[in-house]
Point group: C2
Chain length 207, copies 2
Amino acid sequence: MKHTLSQRTINRLTQYHTILREYSKKDIENITSAQISSFLKIDETQVRKDLKSINCKGKCKVGYVVSELKNIIEDVLDYKTTKKAFVIGAGNLGIALSKYSKFSEFGLEILGLFDINEAKIGKKFDNKEIYHLSTLKNKIEETGANIAILTIPNKVAQEVADEIIKAGIKYIWNFAPSILTVPDDVKVWNENLIGSFLQFCAISDIK
Amino acid sequence: MKHTLSQRTINRLTQYHTILREYSKKDIENITSAQISSFLKIDETQVRKDLKSINCKGKCKVGYVVSELKNIIEDVLDYKTTKKAFVIGAGNLGIALSKYSKFSEFGLEILGLFDINEAKIGKKFDNKEIYHLSTLKNKIEETGANIAILTIPNKVAQEVADEIIKAGIKYIWNFAPSILTVPDDVKVWNENLIGSFLQFCAISDIK
């Protein structure tokens, strides 16, 4: 689903959703913007602005209906459409991401992992198997998955990217700290953990 | 160092730095905004705007001096100040992050890992040892580190957060998908991988 929310707004909405899920589990019916802002230590007007931007209206003193707000966030962020992905690189990060249970709640289904290390092939983590990279094309045809989560060392990143694109991958969520060259019809999202940390440093004045 | 750059600008600057490092290794002296924008598939005017915002001026046709630009980015983003951190939770993600070599280039030094699983205590990864969580206070006093990278399961996140704050941690880079309640003098940065992915989905119209 195409929307025009900024990354920071999307980040906040996923955090509101985490709180709403907790409230929902505890069968609490309503939540106020003050409660949300107090959990996240952000400004209450920011919360209200975000919720207004997705057409959620709270009632004075009562706040928002938890189930409604949760559903609206799930609709806006399109949690209900399953997006099928493979992890490329069954190292620590690849395995960690494939075990990350929250992904499936948000519509991201990791179907399996790929590696070239024969010792790893056939192993399973949480029902996700490690396959040999040479079988990726077949697995893409079988499953319709076209998203790759790339968690491989920098020095082989481009070479492996070329190979998975040839196999049919169209979207690459790149955790390797390298800039990939790809054809125009392939989209790359560089996950920038260090950029995120540096922003934390700047905001918190870490010394 | 306190600056007012947005997260997206910081992200782009770290990516420019990755390219500059490659150029520097190859002893290429100059780089143009067109070259940077072509690598990253972003608008050239965006690159120029970013570099202008950190007081970098290119010369017509010649572009920017690689070593100068690299140094300015390192200064602005304060790479040269070492920020000492411990990873809390020696699971796959914790180990992956402690092995992530790029962090140290950017001033983030991971000194070791902490866990409560006796079977893991004493193991080493890239010269980083896994210690028992009960020794965190001592290790903080020894090293002066006050940043924790939290990579533990959701259900124990709050409990462990309370414990590490008691031990002296002031900054928490939280990879657990949960909202932590902390005292006012402790800063939490929620790493939001799913938020990042959802932004990728929205921009690329992944279905």
